[in-house]
C-alpha cells in the first residue's frame, strides 16, 4: 500500500486527521527503546509512567481540567460507553436518559441497546433539532425528570459542525441533580474548552480527531462524580480503567493536545476563513446548493453542503479522481440504505440529503487547496446532474 499525503487534498478531518509530525516524534521512543511497562517496579519500566503522567497534564490543560480527572481509554466510543453505563450503575433506581436525535452512533446505538447491556428497561428521550440543527432548550427542560440518571449531548455535531449549548445544559442538569455527559470528540482542539468553570461531569474525546493516532481516547470525570469502571482488570488509571496503558499513543495524545492549544487561534481564524471561502464559493458557483446546519453556531472547520438532485457517493468518487477527500451523508455512503440520521432529524429534504457533502478542514489545509476544490466542484456537479432524471436546468 502506498499513501502519499502530498498527493491528496484532505478535507475529511472530522473522520480522522493526519498525525502531526511532532506527535510522531514524541511517540517514537516508546515504540522503540522505551518499551517498559509503566506498572513495573524497575526503573526501566517505571520511568515510562512519568511520560504518561506528563501526557495527562497536557490533556488536562487543553480542556481546563485537573490531571486527576483524566482517564485514558482506547477511543471515544469506549469513553462514551463508560460514562453512560457508569451513571446508570451509580443510580440504579433512575431509568431515564436524555440525549439528542443527532448523536454519533457511539451514543445512539448505545442508547438503543441499553436494555440488553444493563438488564433493565430504560426510557430514552431523544431531543429534536430544528432545521438548522440547533436544540430548543425549553424542550430540554421539559425532558428532565426525577427519574433522569444522565444527560448525554454532543458538544459539536460531526456531520454539520453545529455546536450545542452544553455549558448551559449542564448547569440545568446540575440544578436537578442529574449527571451530564458530553461527547466532545469533534469539539476538543477546535474550540476553547474550560471544564473547571462548567457543570459537565463526563467528557469524551478521541485522539485521532486532533492529530494524535487512532486507538487512544480520554474520559474526563469531574472530581467527586460517582464512577463505576467499564473495563475491570488491573489497577491502571487509578483503578478506573484496567489494561496496560497504550503508552506511545498516550504520549502522542498529550503532545497533540499541547499542539492544539498552540494552533487554537489559527484554527479559529485562518482555518475558519478557508472554510468560509470554500463554503461561499461553492454556494455561489453551484446552483441549487444549500448549507446544512447553523451558519454561526458551528465549528470553524466544518461545512456541510447539499447539492440537490445528485447523489453523494457519485460526487465523492468524482472528487476522488482529483484526490479530494471528503464525506457524504448519502445513503450509499452511510453503509445503510437511508441518508444520514442527522440530516433527516433536521428535516433536510431527501432531494438534498442524498447529495450532501461534508468538507472538514484542518490547519494543514491551504488557500491553494481551497482554490483547487472550488475549481473542480462545479463541473463535477454539473456532469452528474446531466445524468439525473430529476435535474431540470434552469
Amino acid at each position: 500500500m502506498k499513501c502519499d499525503p502530498k498527493d491528496v487534498i484532505y478535507m475529511d478531518n472530522n473522520a480522522t486527521t493526519r498525525v502531526a509530525p511532532e506527535v510522531v516524534e514524541a511517540m517514537m521512543p516508546f515504540l522503540t527503546e522505551c518499551y517498559g511497562n509503566p506498572s513495573s517496579m524497575h526503573s526501566f519500566g517505571g520511568q515510562v509512567s512519568g511520560s504518561v503522567e506528563k501526557a495527562r497534564i497536557q490533556v488536562a490543560e487543553l480542556i481546563g481540567a485537573n490531571s486527576k480527572e483524566i482517564t485514558f481509554t482506547s477511543c471515544g466510543t469506549e469513553s462514551d460507553s463508560t460514562a453512560i453505563l457508569s451513571a446508570l450503575q451509580a443510580f440504579p433506581e433512575k431509568r431515564h436518559i436524555v440525549t439528542t436525535r443527532v448523536e454519533h452512533p457511539a451514543i445512539k446505538h448505545l442508547c438503543e441497546n441499553l436494555d440488553r447491556l444493563t438488564g433493565h428497561k430504560h426510557r430514552v428521550t431523544r431531543l429534536h433539532v430544528d432545521s438548522d440543527g440547533t436544540l430548543d432548550l425549553t424542550q430540554y427542560e421539559k425532558a428532565l425528570t426525577e427519574d433522569t440518571a444522565i444527560v448525554s449531548v454532543m458538544w459539536a455535531n460531526n456531520e454539520t459542525g453545529v455546536i450545542f449549548p452544553v455549558e448551559k445544559m449542564a448547569a440545568m442538569a446540575k440544578e436537578r441533580g442529574i449527571l451530564f455527559h458530553t461527547d466532545a470528540v469533534q469539539a476538543v482542539g477546535k474550540i476553547p474548552i474550560n471544564l473547571q468553570e462548567l457543570d459537565i461531569d463526563f467528557l469524551s474525546l478521541s485522539g485521532h480527531k486532533l492529530h494524535a493516532p487512532k486507538g487512544v481516547g480520554v474520559l474526563y470525570v469531574k472530581r467527586g462524580t460517582p464512577f463505576v469502571p467499564f473495563l475491570a482488570g488491573g489497577h491502571q488509571e487509578d483503578g478506573r480503567r484496567g489494561g496496560t496503558e497504550n503508552v506511545a499513543s498516550i504520549v502522542g495524545l498529550g503532545r497533540a493536545c499541547e499542539l492544539a492549544g498552540e494552533t487554537m487561534e489559527e484554527e479559529n481564524t485562518r482555518v475558519r476563513a478557508l472554510r468560509d471561502r470554500l463554503e461561499e464559493g461553492l454556494l455561489t458557483s453551484v446552483p441549487k446548493s444549500m448549507l446544512n446546519g447553523h451558519k454561526t453556531d458551528r465549528l470553524p472547520n466544518t461545512t456541510n453542503i447539499s447539492f440537490e438532485f445528485v447523489e453523494g457517493e457519485a460526487i465523492l468518487l468524482h472528487m476522488n479522481i482529483h484526490n479530494i477527500c471528503a464525506s457524504s451523508g448519502s445513503a450509499c455512503t452511510s453503509g445503510s440504505l437511508e441518508p444520514s440520521h442527522v440530516l433527516r432529524a433536521m428535516g433536510v429534504p431527501f432531494t438534498a440529503a442524498h447529495g450532501s457533502i461534508r468538507y472538514s478542514l484542518s490547519v494543514y489545509n491551504t488557500d491553494a487547496e481551497v482554490d483547487f476544490v472550488l475549481e473542480k466542484m462545479p463541473p463535477i456537479i454539473a456532469e452528474l446532474r446531466e445524468l439525473s432524471p430529476f435535474w431540470k436546468a434552469e
Binding site: A314, L317, G335, L337, P339, H354
Partner: protein
C-alpha cells in the same frame, strides 16, 4: 469504501447512452428521490427489436454503471429477448457488484421490465402485491421474485437485492416469513389480513379475470392458445381452453402447473383450477 470493478468504474465515469429518447416506444421509470436512486429508461422499438435505449439515473456509482451497461446490453435485442434479461446478467456484465449494491442491478432490470410493459401497454404484476417495506415501497411479490431469481437465503440478502428492510427495519420479521415460505414452497400467507385472505366470489372473479388478462392469456397466445373464465364456485375456478390448447396434449399440465400456480400466487393460494366440460 466500496470495491468496484474496473468495469463499474469505467461505466460510472464514462456512461454510455445518457439521455432521453424523443417519442420513445416505451418508458421505464423506477425508484424515487426519496429512495436514493432512480432510473428513467427510454426505449425505441422497431418491429419488436430495441433499436435504441437511453437512460437518466440519480444514484451512486453502481446505479449509474448498471444503467449504462443495461442500455448497451438491450440495444439490438428483440423485446422477447430483453424480457429475459435478469439483474444477475447486469451484475455479471459489470464483473460483479458489491453485495450491498445488488439492488442497483435489480433497479436496471425493473426499469427494463417497466419500459417493455409500457411498450406493450400492460400493467406490471409486481405493483399488485402488498407493500411489505414502507420505507422503500417494496411489495411481497418483489421480494418473492428476488428470492427465487437470485437464490436468496437471508433477510440481509433480501435487503441487498431489493432494499426492503433497509430503512426502519420494522418489516424484518415479515421478510423472514416470506423467505421461509418461499424457500419451503409453501404459499405465502397474505400479509395484511389476519389469517388467510377472505374474498367474496365477485372479488375473486374480478381478480382472476385481471390475472388471466394480464399474465396468462398473453403467455398462452404465444403458443396459439387462449383461455376463458367460465365460472367460480368457492375455490373452484372453471375455465375453458381455446385455440391450440384444445388439441394440445399438455393442456392439463398447463392448467395445473401454470394457470393454477399463477392464480394461487396472485389471487388466492387455495384456488383449484378445473376445465369446464
Amino acid at each position: 469504501m466500496w470495491e468496484y470493478t474496473d468495469k463499474v468504474q469505467e461505466h460510472f465515469l464514462h456512461p454510455h447512452n445518457v439521455g432521453e429518447i424523443e417519442k420513445p416506444s416505451g418508458i421505464g421509470d423506477v425508484g424515487s428521490l426519496a429512495c436514493g436512486d432512480a432510473l428513467k429508461l427510454t426505449l425505441k422499438i422497431e418491429d419488436d427489436v430495441i433499436v435504441d435505449a437511453k437512460f437518466k439515473t440519480f444514484g451512486c456509482a453502481s446505479a449509474i454503471a448498471s444503467s449504462s451497461v443495461l442500455t448497451i446490453m438491450v440495444i439490438g435485442m428483440t423485446v422477447d429477448e430483453a424480457e429475459k434479461l435478469t439483474n444477475d446478467d447486469i451484475a455479471d456484465y459489470l464483473g460483479g457488484l458489491p453485495k450491498e449494491k445488488m439492488h442497483c442491478s435489480v433497479m436496471g432490470r425493473e426499469a427494463l421490465e417497466a419500459a417493455i410493459a409500457d411498450y406493450r401497454g400492460v400493467i406490471l404484476p409486481m405493483a399488485e402485491g402488498e407493500v411489505v417495506c414502507d420505507c422503500f415501497g417494496v411489495t411481497d411479490l418483489d421480494v418473492i421474485r428476488a428470492i427465487k431469481e437470485s437464490d436468496l437465503r437471508s433477510v440481509e440478502e433480501i435487503t441487498n437485492f431489493t432494499k426492503a428492510g433497509g430503512g426502519c427495519g420494522k418489516c424484518e420479521d415479515t421478510l423472514r416469513d416470506i423467505l421461509q415460505a418461499t424457500i419451503s414452497g409453501i404459499p405465502v400467507v397474505p400479509l395484511t389480513a389476519d389469517g388467510p385472505k377472505r374474498m367474496t366470489t365477485l372479488q375473486k372473479i374480478k381478480k382472476i379475470e385481471e390475472v388471466l388478462e394480464r399474465e396468462i392469456k398473453p403467455a398462452l397466445k404465444k403458443d396459439g392458445g387462449d383461455i376463458e373464465l367460465v365460472d367460480v364456485d368457492g375455490d373452484f375456478v372453471m375455465v375453458s381452453l381455446r385455440g391450440a390448447c384444445t388439441s394440445c396434449a399438455k393442456s392439463q399440465t398447463t392448467l395445473k402447473e401454470y394457470v393454477e400456480k399463477k392464480l394461487r400466487e396472485l389471487v388466492l393460494d387455495t384456488l383449484i383450477v378445473e376445465e369446464a366440460k
